[in-house]
Each structure stands twice: as structure tokens, then as C-alpha cells.
């Protein structure tokens, strides 16, 4: 059964195991899309996708609230999965931060194989739980953290997910604007900017241009992220 083995491969990436370049098999499992920068991902299948695998590039999942305000729900970076949830009052959008390749897989597609493959079933659940966990951690951030803690936490998260380690120090190539950072941590771009400046002044990080961040003092950053008062 080729489909099942493809799903298994697909499922491998549900959790922490690394996955190589996207195989043609995996591409066939769900709907494959190539999304240019700034574009909103539109899947054409009858059923909306439940899980999206980001093969390359970066995407943001946003909730449109009111006319001008948007809240970023989650980011999906290279080789990460992002869970959608379509039965909602708020309209969601999946938008490309950089040109990216993504695969969307619907609940129906997944459920079919779910009953046949216990491994896949657990992986899918693991993935949903991980999305749930992410979201709940962000509740704490948005509900109970100061601006400094928010920005520090955000940077730590990015460090773990997309930082390149050069000569022992973490370098982050930001795929998002200040506005998008602000919309993620529930602040204004001005406050985000001020917090970054402060971190720069304290020698915790360096900036090159608007998108390169060099984290100089990771320990200090961790300290700021959790309890500063």
C-alpha cells in the first residue's frame, strides 16, 4: 500500500524526527502548493486541509479581527507542520512570509489511513497536541507577560526554531517584519522596536539591517523571558 507508506513518511515529520527533502509520494498524499511571498495559500481540494506541512519557506497563520487588527496565531517554518482549525467564527488566513512549498492534508484523507495505521494515528494526535500546547503557551505570554518578557520569549522561540549557529552564536534571519512580531506578541511595532533597542543596548543582541539578529547572550535572554520584575 503505497499511500500508507507515504503517509507514514509524512507522519514522521509530525513530531521531532527530521525529514529529508519532500518525496514525490508525500506530494501525492495531500495537495501540493507553491506560494509566492505575501500570497495567501488557497487550496483547491473540496475538503479544507487540517494539517499543512511546510516543506520550505515560512508561513504565518493569522486571525483577522476587526478591520485593521490582526492576531498572528502561529508561524510555520521549514519542515514544520501547522495545524489549522476551520470551524471557527474568526476568519483565518495562511500567508507566505517567504516563497514557500507547502502540502495540505485534509481530515478525511488522514482519517482514512488513521484506522489502518496506529503509528500514523498517534503521530497525528501528537501533532495536534503540539499545536494545542503552542497555543496554550502563547496564552500565558499574552495574558501575563510584560513587553520585555514577550519579546524575549519570542526571540527564544525563534532561536530554537530557525537560528543558524555560526561560531557558537545564534544568528536569526527574521522572515517577518516588526509589525508581524508585534501582531504575534500582542504589542505595537513601536514597543517591539524599543524592546529590541533595549536588548541591543544591554549587549544581548546585535542587529544587521532589519532582518538579521545576532544573539550574543542567550542566558541573559532566557532570564528576561521568564520573570524580570
Amino acid at each position: 500500500m503505497p499511500a500508507a507508506s507515504a503517509l507514514r513518511k509524512f507522519a514522521t515529520s509530525f513530531s521531532d524526527e527530521p525529514m529529508g527533502p519532500l518525496s514525490s509520494e508525500v506530494q501525492q498524499l495531500g495537495e501540493f502548493l507553491h506560494v509566492p511571498v505575501g500570497e495567501i495559500a488557497k487550496f483547491h481540494s473540496s475538503e479544507k486541509p487540517l494539517i499543512v506541512f511546510v516543506a520550505s519557506g515560512a508561513v504565518k497563520l493569522t486571525a483577522q479581527v476587526g478591520l485593521d487588527r490582526e492576531q498572528i496565531i502561529a508561524f510555520g517554518f521549514r519542515e514544520e507542520m501547522i495545524a489549522l482549525s476551520e470551524n471557527s467564527r474568526v476568519p483565518y488566513e495562511l500567508q507566505a512570509l517567504t516563497a514557500c512549498k507547502i502540502v495540505g492534508c485534509s481530515l478525511a484523507e488522514l482519517a482514512k489511513t488513521l484506522t489502518k495505521d496506529e503509528y500514523c494515528a498517534e503521530r497525528l494526535i501528537t501533532q495536534l497536541l503540539s499545536a494545542l500546547e503552542d497555543s496554550r503557551e502563547r496564552l500565558v505570554l499574552l495574558g501575563r507577560m510584560t513587553a520585555q518578557e514577550r519579546v524575549a520569549s519570542f526571540l527564544l522561540d525563534l532561536t530554537e526554531r530557525i537560528a543558524a549557529i555560526k561560531n557558537g552564536i545564534a544568528v536569526i534571519e527574521l522572515p517577518m517584519s516588526r509589525r508581524e512580531i508585534a501582531d504575534t506578541v500582542g504589542l505595537t511595532i513601536e514597543t517591539v522596536s524599543r524592546q529590541l533597542s533595549q536588548l541591543r543596548e544591554h549587549g544581548i543582541l546585535q542587529t544587521n539591517g532589519r532582518s538579521e539578529l545576532v544573539i550574543l547572550d542567550l542566558d541573559q535572554l532566557r532570564r528576561l523571558a521568564s520573570r524580570s520584575k
Copy 2:
């Protein structure tokens, strides 16, 4: 297969279908607990539960952050399910707001039957998605709403979930304190109190004692909940 049919019954409550009094079958499926007011639910099974069904009473799921600050992640009321997520940095607690009966079911227990019962599989996923959706909607609330919008949204949510309709108007018997409301919507108890007073002054609701709320103008409340500026 009695276990599978019990799970099916259990699973029925995953979504929107109503479920009668807790059958003995369902009790056997997971670990059954009777938790007194204020106590923290402690399951004794080797595997931590993934899904908890609240047969009666009300519980809160909290994340402990720092020494004094707590963030309420979710409430579980009578006949609702609440999804846990244990693989986390933050310590979570499930605490009884009122004396309650709950059933905890672990991933392993669920996964076993998952492969055998497609219906159950979809239900479980639906439940996890619903928890995810809840959490994401609260991200918007905490990230982008004013105090007034937060309190109004909170009350609307409660109205849909636990309000008793008496003579055409909604009456809410609050199972939580002002502190718990504050910890849910990311405000202080003082601000929550002030917002309630304001709603009272505007004739939108009435209060009797500290726990009874009578919603007089639901439309107005809805208006305040989404876009007030």
C-alpha cells in the same frame, strides 16, 4: 466488544451531541474521579490522561507562571470535554471549581481503539481541534482586545455554555471568583470588577450576590464584545 461500544458512547460526547447520565461502561473506560471543591485532580493511572470528561460540576485548567501569577487556560463545565497536553514546559493543573465528577482517558487507551473505530478517531480529532480552536480564539482576546471587550466576550462565552434561561433572560450562576475571571481574560480583579459595574450601570446586566449574573441586554453585550472603539 464492550470496550469499543463504551468508547463510542464516550466519544459521542466529544462533539456536540448530548449525553445522558454517566453510564458504568463509560466509567470503566478511563479513570473515574470525584473531586471536592478546590482540590486538584490527581489521576493514579500510569499514563496521564489526555482527555477529561466532566460529568458534573466545573473545573479549571491553569498554567502556573512565576510564583504568584496564574493563567487560566480553559474551563470545563458539566458534560464538556477538556483536552490536556502534558508535554510542556509550564506546569498545568486541573482544579475543581465545584465538587465534580470527571473521567480521564489517556492517549494510549484512546489510540488502541482509534485504529478500530473510524468514528471514534474522527471524534477524538474533532475534540482536539475544538480545544485548539478555543485556545486560538482566546489568543485573539488576550492579544488584541480591550478590557471591556474581554469581559463582554467572557460573559458571552459563559452565557452560551452555562446560562439558565428563565423567562427568556439568561441567568448565569458563576462557578468562579473575580480572581479566576481576571486570570482568564488577562486582567486584574479590580479591572474586572470595574467593567462589571459599568455593565451594570448601562443596564446590560444585574448582579445578585457575588455569583449570580442576570444578562438583560444580550445584543448590547455582543456589540461590546466585538469592536467597541
